[in-house]
Symmetry: C2
Subunit: 119 residues, 2 copies
């Protein structure tokens, strides 16, 4: 059993965190997957944390989680903090597979997405 885990920064504004949760639901629909196949975790300021989201997945029989760092550029969270948390979780769950995808800002289609907002 596999899952996509969208890891966002997290905000003090509930509406902002809710925006990411809604997005995850829409991604699941887009992929024609059941809603719980695409989950959200927050680096800080909101719940669930990366650790508790991964624990929940693995405790529920998920074998593999693809972690998508939902960050636009490779700042310290993308380069240091998230990988460190993931490494700790991989150590905690040595029999499970955790794949870290490139951060969303590195997606090839980001260029056309930005361009489409302008014209």
């Amino acid at each position: 059993m596999k899952r996509l885990l969208i890891v966002a920064h997290g905000s003090r504004r509930d509406a902002s965190n809710e925006e990411v949760r809604v997005l995850a639901t829409r991604v699941a629909e887009h992929l024609q997957l059941a809603v719980d196949n695409v989950q959200v975790a927050f680096f800080e300021l909101a719940t669930p944390s990366i650790e508790s989201a991964l624990d929940a997945c693995f405790n529920n029989g998920v074998d593999e989680v693809s972690v998508l760092p939902y960050f636009l550029s490779s700042g310290t969270h993308v380069v240091n903090d998230v990988p460190r948390e993931i490494a700790a979780m991989q150590e905690k769950w040595p029999d499970k597979i955790i794949k870290v995808l490139p951060h969303i800002g590195a997606a090839e289609t980001m260029v056309s997405l930005i361009a489409s907002t302008y014209r």
Copy 2:
């Protein structure tokens, strides 16, 4: 004369800021515009600031700037800080047009972009 101004958060990591600058260049290419038609400003931690980027545009004869908040969700920067800075700049340059686009996370195609990273 019009410009697209991509406003990113800014990072202490130069490589992260440079990533946004490269993206802007690629967006200009994608839109088949000269490179300086798509510019970058940073909310904090990097230069140019929003203020100096807009001043530079308007001092160089630009009439209209579309500001794209390059943020994934509507946190306080998107909801409060960036609009406040833009309002101040609009007051400073009453004869110029500053349009604020929806933040990039609200783009309709973000769902398919995320989905494409997973499969």
